[in-house]
Amino acid sequence: MRRPAPGKWRLGVPGRTAGLALLLIIVGGLLFLRPHLQSGQELVAGVPAPPALAAITPFSVAPHGRACMSSVTIDAGSALAQFDLAPARPTKHGGPPVDLLLSAPGYRGVVKVPGGYPGGSATLPIVPTPKRSEIGSACFVDVGKTAVVLNGTTEARTVSRSSTLVDGQSVAGDIALTFIGKGDRSLLDEINETFDHASNLTDGLVPAWLIWVLGLLVLGFVTLGTVAAFYLALREDEASGALPKGRPRSGPRASSG
């Protein structure tokens, strides 16, 4: 049997085990977690009113009529608006043109839906895009000659804080509306915004920079802490005889303590 030369460093059971754990975590992270973070996708900039979970409620708007929601947050970074609409009655010309007017202090934006659509989900650009988040209103204006139906919800579970008026009349429920960010971006690209959002939901108790620190600590410490804990446990067992030391070795053991 070939024995290591005196003084030559050699891994024991604890070292080999810790090494395997670390290797598995790194390889597993690269295989499973990294693609998740790096894959491009449409990232949500804000959801003033989510769609219904089960029962969709149609909100009908007459020609030249309007449906407005108040207390809508127009988030900075919103590039596209997403909502469901359909012609109130099927016609060969499709649905009427609709404008979505977004207004907030210091901001006016519009989303134009050209007429002729069969119905379904529309994801269209907001012009201009808002520079900062403001709370304002969102009004769907039917600028065509036929009525349009906008999908929304009256489910108690999905109704948001907004109040909705259709042609000046208060109605129950909301028209589902989502704002999407610019282009396909990965979670890594959006990590600063993600941490900002999380920080706001702690009322600033955990600032975004601290979430960065926490994230790095969790990533590093959960990984290395687990490996180190197991390594130290094995070292202690090796020293106490609860773990077989394996083949005798002539070189000095790395701080067998």
């Binding site: 975590i25 499973f32 989510p50 108790l205 990984t223 687990t226």
Partner: protein, 524 residues
């Protein structure tokens, strides 16, 4: 003369050392001054200390990743804590006009936290503009806005122990605004998980002797169980129930191993009482307590007078706990004891054959001629895999189906390995029969109780909701960690630590993934 021989540990003779845990626990007994605290901390073994630190970091990360009131039933659970802390009484399960306080209700509404619950496309109102308006709303709230959530609160059927305990940190941070107060309260709740991890370490030492890597594996498995980590950062009575049952198990193991001294009987029955006073599911500790006392009696044969005295002490402890709660509930004009949780179990016609068939079909495909199981297609996979390892927030955040498939395969391999280990170590297990009987009693009675509850619930609700979920298995999480450590410990010594390392590495990856997908669901 009573026998005093200790039950042997489930390990090889060389590795036995029952002193270990006494030393680990001994430090905790003398926490009186900063210097004794330092000494106690210095006595905590380094591997455990590392696991506790990483578990604490995980809980903080979960607290950040989960917006307010997005845990299972968290809005109602917080409302219970808040009402108790503000008024000193429990909310009503059936009466009242405000399930939540004005403060909580306004936050749920303005920050879009209500539509966020369980609805994946929804997002909270997360901008600084929303936060600024929320501050104005908070400042304008009239006096009493925190104390007016008297019910009906569907969580008010829970006994009050957890809520009374959480009322202490609530009062300490009452000056904080709501979101900050909730964040800090969750951190206090997370301390319960750290205690569960430490108790699992001690339990592993009690069973395997001073074999640090087995203790680390058992405690590490508990620390890296993603569902438990998630739940630790949620206001939920389940957190205290998990701790009470784990503490109960440790006290019961010591009872059957070392004999039924009055202190041990009081400790184990006190912890059973704590479980009973925490959640209706804690009632399962009462029959397990009876088993523990019977096993301890058979094993150690104390004199008749001592038997009667200690048995009476145990019965009195449980009886006092139940009585105190009934009196408290009446005095607080609250609901009846357990708010119908117990009486609910007796609704509908119980058919033993149908129940057994239902349990069989929970685990296996129906045999020819068997009546279809009552309720939806819901079985061991949903309870023991999907919702035990995963399913976060209000059930809408999940690992990918591929991960669940791998977890199912891994769990099946683990189960076969556990069975093989039991066969291989049969003689050792027979020698340790008191501990084995006790653990089996806790496992079988807990799962049997859940199966029974699910069956009765399905009869009562027309088969729409099987009621049980993997979260309800968390009180058994220490058994899970111990089973993993036992199984791996039975492998050949050259590969056992390597398999342990693989299991911990998988736990790390699952934990990090779980926090990441939850953060992405709510904030991206």
């Amino acid at each position: 003369m009573a026998k005093k021989t200790a039950t042997p540990a489930l390990t090889t003779p060389r590795a036995r050392s029952p002193r270990l845990l006494d030393r680990a626990a001994g430090g905790a007994r003398r926490v009186a001054s900063p210097s004794s605290l330092r000494r106690a901390l210095a006595r905590v073994p380094n591997p455990l200390l590392l696991i506790l630190v990483l578990a604490a970091l995980e809980s903080v990360a979960w607290d950040v990743a989960t917006p307010a009131f997005q845990g299972p039933d968290e809005a109602a659970q917080f409302a219970y804590v808040q009402h108790f802390a503000e008024t000193g009484s429990i909310p009503s399960a059936t009466k009242g006009t405000a399930p939540l306080s004005t403060e909580e209700q306004d936050a749920m509404t303005w920050l879009n936290l209500a539509p966020l619950v369980g609805d994946p496309p929804a997002r909270p109102a997360w901008s600084s503009a929303d936060l600024a308006v929320w501050h104005q709303i908070e400042r304008a709230m009239p006096k009493g806005s925190r104390a007016n959530g008297g019910g009906p609160n569907y969580q008010a059927s829970n006994p009050p122990l957890y809520y009374a305990l959480m009322a202490i940190p609530y009062r300490l941070v009452i000056w904080l605004p709501l979101l900050k107060r909730l964040f800090v309260l969750r951190l206090f709740s997370a301390l319960l998980r750290l205690a569960v991890i430490a108790l699992t370490w001690i339990l592993a030492g009690e069973l395997f002797g001073r074999v640090r890597w087995k203790q680390t594996l058992a405690a590490g498995v508990v620390a890296l169980e993603p569902k438990l980590a998630f739940m630790s950062a949620v206001i939920s009575a389940d957190n205290l129930l998990v701790l009470a049952v784990t503490g109960f198990l440790l006290a019961a193991v010591r009872l059957v191993k070392r004999g039924p001294s009055m202190a041990r009987v009081l400790a184990v029955s006190g912890l059973a009482a704590a479980a009973v006073l925490t959640q209706g599911r804690g009632l399962v500790t009462v029959p397990v307590l009876a088993v523990a006392l019977a096993v301890a009696w058979v094993r150690h044969r104390p004199p008749a007078r001592a038997t009667l005295l200690r048995g009476a002490a145990a019965v009195a402890t449980i009886g006092c706990a139940l009585g105190a709660y009934v009196l408290f509930a009446k005095a607080s004009n609250g609901s009846s004891a357990f708010g119908g949780q117990v009486t609910q179990l007796n609704r509908g016609r119980f058919d033993l054959g149908q129940f057994l068939s239902s349990v069989y079909q929970f685990y296996f495909p129906a045999l020819p001629g068997m009546q279809p199981r009552v309720g939806p297609a819901y079985g061991y996979q949903q309870v023991f895999i999907t919702t035990f390892y995963g399913t976060f927030a209000s059930l809408e955040v999940n690992f990918s189906s591929r991960i669940y498939a791998w977890l199912q395969v891994g769990s099946a391999i683990g189960l076969v390995g556990f069975y093989t280990a039991c066969v291989v170590r049969w003689r050792s297990l027979r020698r340790s029969w008191p501990v084995v009987v006790l653990m089996l009693a806790l496992l079988v009675l807990s799962i049997g109780f859940l199966q029974y509850v699910s069956y009765r619930a399905l009869l009562g609700n027309g088969g729409s909701d099987p009621l049980i979920t993997g979260r309800y298995l968390l009180p058994l999480v220490s058994l899970f960690g111990l089973a993993v450590a036992f199984t791996v410990g039975c492998l050949p010594r050259r590969i056992a630590p390597l398999i342990g390392a693989v299991i911990l590495a998988i736990g790390v990856l699952l934990s990090l993934d779980a926090i990441g997908i939850t953060m992405a669901r709510f904030y991206a």
